[in-house]
Symmetry: D2
Subunit: 132 residues, 4 copies
């Protein structure tokens, strides 16, 4: 089921991420997605922090996220990722599944771009990730 993704990360809900309705607050899924992207490129030997120190800022240009089923206190989940280039954008397809029943939690597409000296540019370091 997870074999169609190039990277997966298992995580668990922390209680402070839930709001009054007892479910994870909608903004916190963007934190999960970001942490998954960062762990993915870290595993490939890169880091957004070190790219930043080299003057390359990889920034989020667009997020399109559909909330399908909520996560609650104590839920474990699997955060999955695929990755492709589309013109100047690096596009991350990111899905999260609840571990207990394998139900889809969120389906998201996250478009990122590279900025050097305030200008949109290409980033050979990220491009290399695609070849692996």
């Amino acid at each position: 089921m997870y074999s169609k993704y190039c990277f997966t990360l298992q995580m668990q809900v922390r209680d402070y991420e839930c709001d009054i309705e007892g479910i994870v607050n909608n903004a916190n899924y963007l934190h999960y997605l970001e942490h998954t992207r960062h762990q993915f490129i870290l595993k490939r030997g890169l880091s957004f922090a070190s790219l930043h120190h080299q003057g390359i800022d990889v920034v989020v240009a667009r997020v399109n996220i559909a909330y399908k089923n909520p996560l609650r206190s104590e839920d474990e989940f699997v955060s999955c990722l695929n990755f492709r280039k589309e013109g100047v954008k690096y596009v991350f397809e990111q899905d999260i599944y609840r571990l207990s029943d394998n139900k889809i939690v969120v389906k998201a597409q996250v478009d990122t771009v590279c900025i050097v000296d305030g200008k949109l540019t290409d980033c050979p370091e990220l491009l290399n990730l695609l070849k692996e």
Copy 2:
């Protein structure tokens, strides 16, 4: 400029909302958007918290957000909202502008739905807001 929106809210970046790159973290804009929606319906005499206690959960079903220009430490901004019904969904068009230069910061569409007893349903309380 802001007259085309049915609700606007002025806010200011808090330093803890910024990340290593010195700009507001992408997830925190969803917090800004949520707070704006809640303040909007509060001004109309409703509250998501009290709807929740009546058994009506208004939940976010989809967010489509484009990041245009970043906010930084100390920036003030105006968070603007329009509101319409589309089938079973309540659709919020939400734009944020940087106050210093009126540049667009994010453009977002947030689709919400009402859940009662675990089922998608209509919510007359929200519907009434449209008539005002």
Copy 3:
């Protein structure tokens, strides 16, 4: 080194927890401490969420935290906990160590109390944890 604690939890910094100075924001350590307490009592078969649904709210009454060394992006750390009763309070001694060099990160004491129907009370469920 960690054997003097009754519970330890290994975690890793997530980039969104860091602020402009490149270090984990001071408030986020309270999130780490809370998650550690919740995982500790979960391992003992209890949960703050289920206690809440039974009408027992375990709330934080005081936190005294000393920040010794900062955590940064990608740092792994060990969050350690001891637990005792002191009058009506349940006192958690909580220390966090950086994994790379075993340096102390924060030293904290967190006092919690049990509230039932708005009144300070004792909580036999928590008391039982002490006997194990």
Copy 4:
């Protein structure tokens, strides 16, 4: 009542700051306290962000916070601050009051120190604030 403080800031709870128990999560008060300190020194013409860019990091060394009464959804509150020097430390006495009934919410002492090139040092810029 607030005249004994050298700075006050009125704020309002945002729903995403509340957790499952319906009250503001304990860590978020540290966000309120930080934002109050930053607005205070900003009003005096300084900023922690610009000090950071000059190589002066003002970091939190200790927080001692007592939680007296909880804040809930929609609550407005007044965040108050006094400020003194104690040896090498800059000590902020910070109290938060609920606006509806003037009840104390939290009482906190936050000790900060200045770090230049990794070393504890004095910070004439902060010292000047005391003379005003």
